[in-house]
């Protein structure tokens, strides 16, 4: 059988639904959160930054539901997912527009009264099947099955729920905006009705745990969270081991036990360890183990700046030296202080150093200097991150807004993040 080489490590971004194949180490937690969701039709998934909340939803919970391991009333699942960003109801309405095929303005005005508005949109749509109606009751068994197959359970995912509190448009001086209040009213009231009338409408939110205190500002929200909150724990050693080793085995690659142990050894306790680890694995797989054709080993880890070469075996150290000597000077400098954290820094610095070269190749008519490219990158990153009460948070901005700040009419900012060479570009705004 042909072995197809698929990169089983997504790098810095969250696992998406297609990558659920390689999402390992969280099975127990996925199962537990599904139990809560089944029972309460609502789930607040909380955890520290970088602890895999979004991955757990998109690569754990959603594929499990679609595969039939988590069953609603109907044969299909319709998934609506959005982030509050700076316009929670607007973003929600955008997603519903696609789903119900009704235009945005009408959806938004349908949601505005709050309370039962969302339930009514769903139960009056073609997705829903009312089994008490004669249209269903009068059918034979075969036709009923067809109707069930056609109907769809509805799963609404609100990712990065904390954006209701981190963006000043949504939350200012301790007060929620009306737009945010409407979203919260819809969540709470929809859940009440769905439970009471046994309507297969489920809501899942993901939120950084450091914002849980903010939820008290809206009556009913703490109660709802209290009923159905799953706090994602840090992965234990066994689970991290699985997350490193099993994706490689699943995709037909090999990762040596000594590399797995080295990565586990180098993981420092603290925030955001999983993205850093995933990035290192992605780099090893992609850049130096020939898309996983060679077994992933310590020498590859040394080549991406993760460990000092003098800790390799004698023969590997010789091979490393032969490779190292031919590197350009700036790359040699990037490997001067090897560590797991350095892998990401070295890669980012390499991209920063060479961004103008790549830009000039794809835009031969509009060449830019190294200095200008670096100024643009700096400005863009400043636009996209900020501190909120000493916590680093995302700052959502559109491309035209960033271009306006950069203020150079000749420059078009495009999705530079794709230069990290991940198989699919991130869903970030830039």
């Amino acid at each position: 059988m042909t072995q197809i080489k698929i990169c089983p490590y997504p790098g810095l971004r969250a696992f998406n639904e297609n990558e659920s194949l390689y999402f390992k180490g969280r099975e127990f937690h996925v199962e537990k959160s599904i139990e809560l969701l089944k029972q309460n039709k609502f789930l607040m998934l909380t955890g520290a930054s970088g602890d895999g909340k979004s991955s757990m939803v998109f690569a754990g919970l959603v594929p499990n539901a679609k595969a039939g391991f988590f069953r609603g009333d109907f044969g299909r699942w319709t998934i609506v997912d959005f982030r509050p960003e700076r316009d929670p109801i607007g973003n929600f309405a955008n997603c519903l527009t696609l789903m119900f095929g009704i235009d945005h303005v009408n959806i938004q005005s349908a949601l505005e009264p709050g309370f039962s508005s969302l339930i009514e949109l769903y139960t009056h749509s073609s997705l829903y099947l009312d089994k008490s109606k004669p249209e269903y009751q009068n059918e034979d068994e075969k036709s009923r099955k067809k109707l069930i197959n056609k109907a769809s359970n509805l799963l609404i995912i609100i990712d990065q729920f904390e954006e209701l509190f981190t963006n000043p448009e949504n939350f200012f001086e301790g007060q929620l905006s009306n737009n945010s209040k409407l979203l919260l009213n819809l969540i709470i009231e929809t859940n009440k009705i769905a439970k009471a009338k046994e309507i297969p409408l489920y809501i899942v939110c993901t939120m950084r745990s450091d914002y849980i205190g903010n939820c008290t500002v809206y009556k009913g929200l703490p109660e709802l969270i209290g009923e159905s909150n799953y706090f994602i724990p840090r992965l234990n050693r066994n689970e991290i081991y699985q997350a490193i080793e099993e994706p490689a085995l699943l995709s037909g690659n090999i990762i040596t036990p000594r590399l797995v142990e080295r990565l586990l050894y180098d993981l420092k306790e603290g925030l955001d360890i999983l993205p850093v680890l995933q990035h290192a694995l992605f780099r090893i797989w992609k850049e130096y183990s020939n898309d996983g054709s060679e077994q992933m080993d310590l020498i590859h880890y040394a080549k991406i700046g993760g460990m000092p070469s003098n800790e390799l075996s004698k023969s590997d150290n010789e091979l490393f030296k032969e490779w190292f000597i031919n590197l350009p000077d700036f790359k040699k400098k990037l490997l001067a202080n090897p560590s797991l954290e350095n892998v990401l820094n070295a890669h980012a610095n390499e991209l920063y150093e060479t961004a103008h070269e790549r830009y000039n190749i794809s835009n031969p008519g509009k060449k830019i200097s190294k200095q200008l490219s670096q100024d643009i990158i700096k400005s863009s990153f400043k636009c996209l991150t900020r501190l909120d009460d000493n916590k680093a948070v995302r700052n959502r901005m559109s491309l035209p807004e960033i271009e306006q700040i950069i203020g150079n009419e000749n420059i078009t900012v495009n999705t530079k993040v794709s230069h990290l060479n991940y198989p699919e570009k991130t869903e970030q705004s830039v």
């Binding site: 099955k145 995709s251 000594r258």
Partner: protein, 428 residues
């Protein structure tokens, strides 16, 4: 029990305490109803004489002592090594001025008390006719002996392991004779579920079989891995406890790390409590053994929405092949994931069929593929859809060990048979 305090003047067969205490106890213990040796949890047998050494003794003295006690003497040391080669008895006050490389009086007292308690329990059980080995279902940890700089860490770790509900062996201090060392290491490793090795900043002076003692014990434990697939080796490189690492020790550490094999865990976890928690978790998660004796030729899965179509295929197929089938989704209480995985693992070919339930089929095959081990699974999956249903056009799952096809419904049984034949003939 008899607890002799062994100084360098004790081992003299002409002395009164030798003749009237040790020799007398030995003779009477051999003859009484308990016997001289008692069964012990992780060890094979334990002597009723527990020597407490307060001075280092020579090999010749050690041999005399051992010769009188059937070679089963294992001691606890209360020795303070002030300067290498010069020693004196350990005192309670030494704990106040503790220096790395010396023993903690408190730990040695705890160790002695534990052995006394175990010996008394063993004696009571023997008199009552209780088999101590069958009573003891705790995990046993072989805690490797260390050079001096890690002795205290080893003692502290032993206490934490015991508190976490595990047996620790060997419970005695490291024997000074090499032959005893080898014998006791091998005996203890064989009785254990895992080994724990502490690597400090120093190699230490002692060598066994031309290897530093730390490395020697790791090599001995590695031998078990070939015969016991559940065995695990934990190597704890707790660097935070050491100011510096000798270059020679650093070289040994690098060698160990470059020769790590499956089931070896090399960790720098900062606290003994966290380490023991990891050990306990990993011992609890023993790999699932495939115990099913049922072997199936073809395992056929489909969604309940496709029951009619699947029944036709199943009927045609069962004329030419034995088929085991599972309808997914009918019974809400059934864990379809687990059931499917169990049956796939005991089948030569797994078939996932879909016609109306195309939106279910892709996520289902993806999750099943992951659960059975993907590329490393022994059972290939034939993911086969009904081409006559236009909604299925373009549906496929491309992955190692998966054959993804869209076929006209009538030909599906033949495709399954052809794929099965290829597997049996070794062409897949």
């Amino acid at each position: 029990m008899f607890i002799p305090i062994i100084s360098n003047s004790y081992c003299d067969a002409n002395k009164d305490n030798w003749k009237n205490e040790l020799q007398y106890f030995k003779n009477s213990a051999v003859a009484d109803s308990l016997g001289f040796l008692l069964p012990f949890k992780g060890e094979l047998l334990l002597s009723r004489i527990l020597p407490i050494k307060i001075n280092s003794i020579s090999d010749a003295e050690y041999s005399i002592l051992e010769g009188k006690t059937d070679g089963r003497l294992k001691s606890i040391d209360f020795i303070f090594d002030a300067i290498e080669g010069v020693s004196r008895p350990l005192r309670p006050n030494d704990d106040v001025t503790f220096k790395t490389g010396t023993l903690l009086y408190r730990n040695q007292i705890i160790k002695t008390a534990n052995i006394i308690a175990e010996l008394l329990l063993s004696a009571k059980n023997k008199l009552k006719g209780i088999d101590i080995q069958s009573e003891n279902n705790k995990n046993t940890v072989f805690l490797a002996w260390t050079p001096n700089d890690c002795k205290k860490i080893r003692d502290d770790l032993a206490i934490v392991l015991e508190k976490a509900g595990m047996n620790v062996v060997p419970i005695y201090d490291c024997p000074s004779k090499d032959s005893d060392f080898n014998e006791r290491v091998n005996e203890a490793i064989k009785k254990s579920d895992c080994s724990v090795h502490i690597l400090g900043g120093k190699v230490g002076n002692r060598q066994i079989n031309n290897l530093p003692i730390s490395l020697n014990q790791i090599e001995e434990a590695k031998k078990i891995l070939t015969t016991n697939s559940d065995y695990k080796i934990f190597i704890w490189n707790n660097l935070s406890s050491f100011y510096s690492i000798e270059p020679e020790q650093q070289k040994i550490i690098n060698d160990i790390r470059n020769n790590i094999i499956n089931k070896m865990i090399f960790t720098n976890i900062p606290s003994p409590v966290q380490l023991v928690d990891d050990i306990r978790t990993m011992l609890a998660s023993k790999e699932e053994k495939e115990t099913s004796n049922d072997q199936h030729e073809v395992f056929f899965m489909y969604n309940f929405l496709d029951e009619d179509n699947a029944d036709e295929i199943k009927e045609m197929l069962s004329d030419i092949l034995p088929v085991e089938a599972l309808i997914v989704g009918e019974d809400q209480s059934l864990d379809y994931g687990q059931v499917s995985v169990r049956l796939i693992k005991s089948s030569k070919l797994a078939v996932i069929f879909y016609s109306e339930a195309g939106t279910w089929a892709i996520p289902f095959v993806q999750q099943i593929w992951k659960m059975i081990g993907g590329a490393s699974s022994r059972t290939p999956i034939l993911f086969i859809g009904d081409k006559e249903n236009v909604n299925n056009i373009g549906k496929a799952f491309i992955a190692p060990n998966v054959i993804s096809k869209l076929i006209q419904k009538n030909f599906i049984p033949f495709e399954i048979k052809a794929t099965y034949d290829n597997i049996v003939e070794g062409n897949l």
